[in-house]
């Protein structure tokens, strides 16, 4: 049986998402079964568009959605997006893989994506707001069942 690794991606920060996907792709390339559980801010990483008003949202949900519009921020020195812009430039210059490339790779390597339905509900998002290749929509029990069988479990 293959070894397993799980990652809870709670953050919606560019740098943390890159760290999560770097580990996920490396583990998958090392013959591990990898699951990423996207919850709360982490859902911003798998949103189709950064801003959506398509789904029925109340005022506060709408405000949250508007406030998390734009590119993913860096966790430090974001400076209203300047930091994230600089980081992307620097990574490109160093020829390091971008987040979208890493996400594409993760899909090729069969990394399983699970979206947290509770967070989706709280934030007023629907399945349609997310990228198409989400494997499962589930909650904490599904995550824990996966984590219990895994050797490596990370919260990012």
């Amino acid at each position: 049986m293959k070894d397993k690794m799980t990652i809870i991606l709670f953050s919606g920060d560019l740098d943390k998402a890159i760290a999560a996907f770097t580990l996920a792709t490396t583990a998958a390339a090392s013959d591990m079964e990898v699951t990423i559980f996207f919850t709360f801010w982490g859902l911003n990483v798998i949103k189709k568009k950064r801003f959506t008003l398509s789904s029925p949202q109340n005022l506060m949900q709408r405000m949250f959605n508007i406030m998390s519009t734009g590119c993913l921020p860096t966790s430090k020195l974001n400076m209203a997006g300047l930091g994230a812009w600089m980081m992307k430039k620097m990574m490109k210059k160093a020829r390091a893989a971008s987040l979208s490339e890493l996400m594409q790779l993760a899909r090729e390597l069969k990394v399983k994506f699970i979206a947290c339905t509770t967070s989706l509900g709280v934030l007023g998002l629907t399945k349609e707001d997310l990228i198409e290749d989400i494997d499962e929509f589930a909650g904490a029990s599904t995550y824990l069942a996966e984590a219990k069988a895994a050797k490596i479990n990370l919260f990012i």
Partner: protein
């Protein structure tokens, strides 16, 4: 060492060299040797570690300035 295949991973950073190694080795037959040329300093440690996890056979690694050349064999 005579390799059956060679991949060039120079200019690439983690996780790309390992991902490329994985991609290439899946196309190979058991016993065949893969040569990997890389220049990410971490690759020196990462290649034997990856072999330990994946079960592929780590043969050798040599360094020539910043260039790391590794040899692994498909199990």
């Amino acid at each position: 060492m005579k390799a059956d295949r060679t991949i060039d991973c120079t200019g690439l950073f983690c996780p790309m060299p390992i991902v490329k190694v994985k991609r290439e080795i899946t196309k190979m037959k058991p016993g065949e040797i893969l040569e990997i040329i890389a220049d990410d300093p971490g690759f020196e440690k990462d290649l034997p570690s990856w072999c330990a996890m994946s079960g592929e056979i780590f043969l050798s690694l040599k360094k020539d300035g910043p260039i790391i050349t590794g040899y692994i064999q498909k199990k």
